[in-house]
Structure formats: structure tokens, C-alpha cells
Symmetry: C2
Subunit: 299 residues, 2 copies
Amino acid sequence: MRHQTTLRAIDAVARAGSIRKAAEQLAVTHTALNRRILAFEAELGAPVFERLPRGVRLNPAGELVIHHFRAQVADMERVRSQIADLAGERRGHVAIACSQALLPFFLPRHIAAYRAGHPAVTFSVELRDRDVAEQALVAHEADIALVFEPVRLAEVQVLLAAPQPVMAVMAADHPLAAGRGPVRLRECLRWPVAAPTIPYGVRHLLDAALARSSVRLRPAVVSSSFEFLRCYALAEQVVTFQIPIGLPPERGELVARAIDARDLAPGLLYLCQLRGRTLPVAAAKFTDQLARALSEAES
Amino acid sequence: MRHQTTLRAIDAVARAGSIRKAAEQLAVTHTALNRRILAFEAELGAPVFERLPRGVRLNPAGELVIHHFRAQVADMERVRSQIADLAGERRGHVAIACSQALLPFFLPRHIAAYRAGHPAVTFSVELRDRDVAEQALVAHEADIALVFEPVRLAEVQVLLAAPQPVMAVMAADHPLAAGRGPVRLRECLRWPVAAPTIPYGVRHLLDAALARSSVRLRPAVVSSSFEFLRCYALAEQVVTFQIPIGLPPERGELVARAIDARDLAPGLLYLCQLRGRTLPVAAAKFTDQLARALSEAES
DNA sequence: CTGATGTGGTGCGTTTTTCGCACCGCTCCG
DNA sequence: CGGAGCGGTGCGAAAAACGCACCACATCAG
């Protein structure tokens, strides 16, 4: 959109931290960019950047302005998307920030299903966990976020919360895999454990559950990658912990058993958007599809 | 703001219904304006106006675009206002849509009080009753609305609802003025009545109260002006009906007695804004002041 | 029917704005 | 102290916007 070139320019400068660097990215000279900014500041009646010896940085007024710009660009995208929808063909882009567990099966399946019906819609999926996902929503870098047990922010609106019980995961030939139904947590801990690192929701729930017990979590292996943990359970006879949505639909070499609800309350998977924002058509419809799938899986 | 000239131009054309008329208002030739629109439509990939023999009219896509523009301009105004507030001086503009009852005493007093503290803030007060006030909010022609018993719209957010009992109003020498405390409705109707016309909230409440009774409202005088009704009560010995907020604080020639709550439930005066909108600083602070005054008056 | 009026759209020369080059003053850092 | 990196400025060139004259078309009064 031509009428918001100045907006994008200022955004680029704010991100790059220097007019010259931003000018290079935008393929213009620093002169032109500098003058645009000066003109805008003159019009606004107040500076937007504070000039430092090594570049520029947004001042408080600039923070307000940049936030307005991001919201404006995102809203224009929504308008374009709705207009395309008006013309019959649904097009647009859906930017998703999500936790690791959504990456292997859930999102690929649903995005593929959606794109089968609307090939003109494109997607971007970014791994952004918990608070970082919510920051992405606020900065308009993501339209929707799917996060497990997030730190709750005031600016985020929860569209759906799906219970996800923590599962004990192990190889099919693991002794624990022989049992049926829920398994007690203390029983799992009798074998070596492969656990996620501290900042993750699953680990958080485990630590919280064990805090009131005498048993301690002494992981043999720790990783920030759930994919690694799944694969490691195939390589050594360990027990690891994951939520169902990140596990293969059909169990093959891997077996998952729910942890007894007495030991560990189910965590919640949140589907979120920025509070007060109207999503573009494509994002809104895709969100509907996800919400339907999540609430059906629940029942 | 220079970067939204095209926006304002399209808005002007939409309002004027013709490119040439809008061009005249904007003090440019129709050629320039026409080309701006064509360029914008080309960029958008879809027309915004449908061309009629006698001018142009927004098509559905245009409705979306114009709504986006209005929201954007209003939000920019909020940003400017917040930046001014950052610099210490509060400036900006507050556009109010309100019912008649607010015009004579309530709004003048509070606007004057606010401007005493912040002389750089300007105000506009438009008489917009009920549904028209709400339309003004949606069209961003008003920041806040003060309406009595409005038709409720989904896009409007109620900030406060202040009970306003309907009062019987008459001259000080009217027989009914001799009594003390609440007066029964049927007692009022024993004298000639000067009533508001149908579309107004007070009249609506009266009609609703009398619908279940055998007594009928037979007004001797009907008017759409509450100011006229007040003045008429001084000229003839009639009873008229108004809400307290529209009556002089100190009673002189005019006496008001509340209608007994058994006959007539108090109406509600609503303080509203557009749902999901963040008001400019000045409007937000002024709204706070109004809300405080209204809830104090209540207690 | 017919001319007058009003509409949106277009070709073209002119004016205004924007851009890019060269250069300045400044701060930081080796 | 000198080089590198930064934001800011004067000035001529390029580009965009503008205004004029004009067209095709629809409407409406006479």
C-alpha cells in the first residue's frame, strides 16, 4: 500500500536501530529515509526517535506511534482479506505462533485441510513459546497463538482452552507400556526419566505436582526439544512426558499413558488472539476450524 | 497528517456522493481526486466506488475500506493526544453526542470545569438522540455518547448507567407543587399535561407505564423540545415530565417532584463509547469526570 | 427530439514533491 | 589522533502529482 510507505519506513528504522541500515534494507538512500522521518516528526509536532551517537531509538512517543502503525497495517490486511472474501475467493495470510507440541501433527494436518479448500491462503508457523507467543500477538507478528500453559497477559484474549492431560511416553517394549489406563506418577519415576527443560509447561506441571511430594524429579536426560525427547524414548528405555496433541495419532513404536488425574491436573492448551482485534477472514475461519477440532477432541 | 490524504479524499468523496463535489470542498480539481481514487483502487485490486450516472457510491468493499479509514484517523488522533499528554500539556478534542436533557446544565457545567483545568482541549456537542447517537459513535463522528434509554446496539459499549427517575415538573404556583415527596402518576394526570413526542425516552416510559393502566395520556401540548416544555410549564398550569439531569440545580419558578417508583421505574441514562476503541486521553479523562459525577449524584 | 447540464475518465504540459549525490559535524573507538 | 559510523543539509535531477482542455455518456427540461 502506497499510502503507508512512511509508516513502514519508520517501522523499519525502529527495527534496524539505525536510519542507514534501514535505508539499505528498503533499497533507498539514507537521505530520503531521513527526510521522511524529519517530515513526519515535523508534522506530528514531536520527535519520534531519540538520536544516539550510534543510531536512533524510539522515544516514548515513538512507541505509541509504532504501535499504532502496526495495528493499522494489520487492520488493512484484514480489510483486504475481507474484500477478497467478498469477491468469492478467500485469500490472505495466517501467521501462527505456537508451542512445540503443535508442530509435528496437529498444525500440519489442519493447515493442509484448510489449504485444500482455500489454496490462495498462505500460512506461517513460528515456534514461540508461552510469553514470547503473547509478545508476538501484541507486536502484530502473529494473528493467533496456540500455547500450552502460558503466562497470562492482559492484552491477550483466550478464544478456547482445551484440557491436555500430561502423558507418560515410552517405547512399546518398555515395562510401563504393558499396563492399561492411567498410570500413577510415582510409578513412572521408578524408571529413568527424560524431561523437558524448566521453562516449558509440561515441566512446570511436573515440578508443581512433585513439590508437595517427597519424590524428586531426577531426569537422566533433559532437552528443550520435544521431538528429541520422543526419539530418545525409542533409543533408551526412559519415560518422558508430553501432551497428547504432540503425539502421533496412531501409536506405533511409541506408547503413551495418561498420568492419573490425582497426581497431575490436566494442563490447558490455549487458543489466543490479540484482545480487541478483528482477525482477517482467513485467520478467523481457520481459527474456527481449530476451535472446532479442539473442542471435539475434548468431548 | 500527510500520509492519509488519500484516506481523507476517499472519505470526502463517499460523503459528497460525487468526485467533483468532493474535489471542490477539498480545493483541488476533480482530475487529481479522480486519479487518486483510481490509483488506490488499482493498488487495492478492487473498485471501491460504483459509478452511477449522477456520481459515485461506495460498494460493499468500499464500506469496509471507509470504516477502516475512519477508525484509523480516530486512532491517530488518540495517539497525538497521548503524545501531547506525554509532553505535559493535555490537548485534543472531545466529540460528544447526547440527548436533549444534557444540554442545558449538565454538559455546560462539566465541560467548563474540564476546560478550566485543560484549556487546550476543545469540545463539540451534538444533539443526537438514541439510535442516531449510537450511529455517530460507529461512524467515529462522536467519541462518547450520553443517551437516555437508548436502543441498544451491539457495537456500543456502556461505561455507566445512571438511574434517572422521571420527574413531574410544574410551575411553583401549580397545586401539585404544594406536596412533598414522590407523587403518584394518576395524580399528575388530573391536570393538563405537556408531553414529549413519541420517540423520546421519557415519553416511552410514560406510555409503557400507562399501557397496563386504564388511564390514558391525553397531552394538551406535545413538543420535541424539552426546553419548550419547561418554559411552557411556566406559561400555563400544566404538568410536564423530565429527568432530573435536565432541570435547573436550584429550583426557582419551576418545581419538580419524582414520580412514585410503583408507577414508573426509573429510566437509565447511559454513558457510552464505541466498543473496543481506545479513547484519546482528553476524551478518556473527561469521561472519567462524567462517570464520577453521575455515580456520585446517584448515591 | 434536442440541447444543456452534470458525471467520470484521459492525454499532455507544468508544477510540486521526492530522491540521490556529495559533503558537513559529531561521537565513539582502536 | 585518525578512521569509521552516525544523523543532517544544499542542490541538481528524477518522479510524482497536478491542472487544463477535452471526451463519452447519462439525465433532464423544454
